[in-house]
Symmetry: C2
């Protein structure tokens, strides 16, 4: 699908969209029950974060160009528990889910395409989410790390890559304790599974 074209068309046709730019560290949106907002990330990277009462901070999702997020994808129970934070300068398109579904009852060509494109977006999202579940289903930090590294390296077609998180954030993404993760990284290095210079990892010994 041509996401680029879809988004441009969408913005042109639908006067109910809003476009906004955020700088690093800003909160792009907090999730609010009943609002049904949909956001498309046009530029930059951002994280969906949940802060637990326990103090744990979970990176629930990591978004880059063309990713969709917003309340439609969640059962929101508590307002403002979930929020999206810009990791770099971000451009975001906001609209309401209703615009997609409701208007489609009219028979215009545009909205037919819109629904189809949105389906594709969602399919991608489900696929991504499933790899996330796979990651979290691993029972040890070591397995999580190895699985995660394999995912990146197969996506990038190379055994050397830079982790797209800080290591602190990676721990939150894998839902493990940072120092325990560092320890495991050290052991993986010592045992010759990986090379590591800062956030740059090379996988050895397939």
């Amino acid at each position: 699908m041509d996401m680029e074209k879809f988004i441009v068309d969408f913005e042109k046709q639908c006067n109910k969209t809003k476009r906004k730019v955020f700088s690093k560290g800003e909160t792009i949106t907090t999730y609010i029950r009943g609002r049904q907002q949909v956001c498309i990330l046009l530029e930059g990277t951002a994280d969906l974060i949940r802060c637990e009462r326990s103090g744990d901070r979970i990176i629930v999702d990591h978004f880059s160009k063309n990713d969709v997020f917003g309340e439609v994808f969640y059962n929101i129970t508590t307002n403002r528990e979930l929020f999206v934070e810009a990791k770099q300068k971000c451009t975001v398109l906001f609209f309401v889910y209703d615009n997609i579904v409701t208007k489609c009852k009219q028979n215009c060509r545009f909205h037919k395409e819109l629904v189809a494109s949105f389906s594709e977006l969602m399919l991608d999202k489900i696929t991504l989410q499933n790899t996330r579940v796979e990651l979290l289903s691993k029972r040890s930090i070591r397995e999580k790390l190895i699985t995660y590294f394999k995912m990146i390296s197969s996506k990038n077609f190379t055994n050397s890559f830079t982790v797209p998180f800080s290591l602190t954030d990676l721990a939150d993404y894998l839902c493990v304790d940072r120092s325990a993760m560092m320890r495991e990284l050290k052991m993986l290095k010592e045992e010759g599974f990986i090379e590591k210079i800062g956030n740059k990892i090379t996988m050895l010994s397939q």
Copy 2:
């Protein structure tokens, strides 16, 4: 959305669907790279299972009436690593993802509805998957159990419920060791957080 109507219509209109009945324990499908099969569970319950080389068995997903599954939702790397197993007698509708997207280029009313209905299905799926991620993101067995119990009880509007898994399967669903989970259940009981008779749980002390 009226899923019932959607499915009946779909089956009537599209001669490329197949309907099949499975009995308890049978394998409904294994995931095969490139096939793009979509399945809708019309009746019964089934689990999506991954068997790891480590011997761990993960219940990746748990399906009931009207749930969708199939290769479209996954990045399949290894054939037959993922498979869906009937937990009770199941009726399943099979079709190919192509039928949805491709035919939509014709302007028939039916396919427009089909795409819209499918979007709704996917949205539900994403929402469910996100609660699954929330569950797996919890760092201790205790938190996973409590979160899971809260999810069930809020879904059922009651503090007493029967876990829809065997306890063995629940451990696989929460991705933890069974005996460790049993130990934690025992402690939760002793500390007065829950009552427990077999698979029947009552949550005390909100």
